[in-house]
Amino acid sequence: MNNPSAERSLLIIIPAFNEEASVGKVVTEIREVIPGVPVIVIDDCSIDATASVAEAAGARVLRLPHHLGLGGGVQAGYKLAYELGYEYVIRLDGDGQHDPRDIPRIYEALLTSSCQMVIGSRFIQGNAVPTSFFRGLGVQFFRLILRPILGQWVRDPTSGFVGVNRQALQVFSTSFPLEYPEIEALVVLQRRAFRFLEVPCRMRRRMAGRSSITAVKSVYYILHVLLGVFVNILKFERWRWRR
């Protein structure tokens, strides 16, 4: 992984919002696993020291002028990566749940498969940390919903540990779901006949802080994502009829 071509073609992005307690450690771990590969932390207008901690750990920081939410932040990272000419981008969370030691596996899959997206899946080898009953139910629900749409099973549709190639980068630079991007992004790619692959990855407990997803938000999440998936399918149909 420590070769000049990887350094030129791969970029790691970390969307972060008030992650000062964990983002520095995440950046340090990444730099230990893949030294020389640039890391950009997208600071979604944090009110804590996320940006300075990330910079101190050796990352560059893309500072958003105001809070855009996860999708807006990730898309900003994709736009920047596309402009800078990167071939591959791997995104992982700033809370330390994703193990940077899995980055080479995702990068390898991006290089060797012809897939435009590689998802680090918690559920392939059963190595996920225990999650709440309702969250597990939600994941199962979306698996079933996505199966006929994507034409294949996706074991971990809500994973934020994702690698994309330049083709997907181009698409995401112009069209990326803004609020809960993971599931809708899969549909956006599938509608363009792009392919994805899942590889096993380790999931750890977050290093600090708590998940922002509450029971009420979970219901909103499900409804929002369902509507987003439905709208993406409609968009594609319109596009196909126009051709």
Binding site: R63, P65, G72, Q75, A76, K79, E83
Partner: protein, 125 residues
């Protein structure tokens, strides 16, 4: 039911005054006041024109003309809300794109300055 019509007249007049005041104080831009003023003016006119209301009620199959006005008010304000949802969505998209662009430009600018500082300065004359 006359009381309902009078109430509608009063409410629409209050709305017109409120919107005009907000426009004067630059709290609402002129282009976004048009929908509110149009809807309020329509309600004001209809609440004072019983014959027109009777005609509309007959067309809509509503027995009571003042109830037709309530229906019209509902429809008018749904249209106004729909229009503003479109405007807000457009503005939010533009806002997100601008924020991303500002962040990316700032990133490039910082990188440019860092590169400039890292370069050895040329021989002084």
């Amino acid at each position: 039911m006359d009381r309902l019509l009078n109430l509608m007249t009063l409410l629409s007049a209050v709305l017109i005054v409120l919107v005009l005041r907000s426009v004067r104080r630059a709290h609402i831009r002129v282009e976004y006041s048009v929908s509110w003023l149009g809807a309020a003016a329509a309600v004001l006119l209809l609440s004072r024109s019983y014959k027109a209301l009777e005609k509309i009620a007959e067309l809509a199959g509503i027995a009571d003309p003042p109830l037709a006005l309530v229906l019209i008010v509902g429809c008018l304000f749904l249209i106004v809300f729909y229009r503003f949802s479109i405007i807000i969505s457009d503005l939010k998209d533009a806002n997100i794109s601008l924020a991303q662009r500002v962040a990316i430009l700032e990133y490039h600018l910082r990188a440019f300055h860092e590169n400039k500082q890292a370069q050895p300065s040329g021989p002084s004359r």
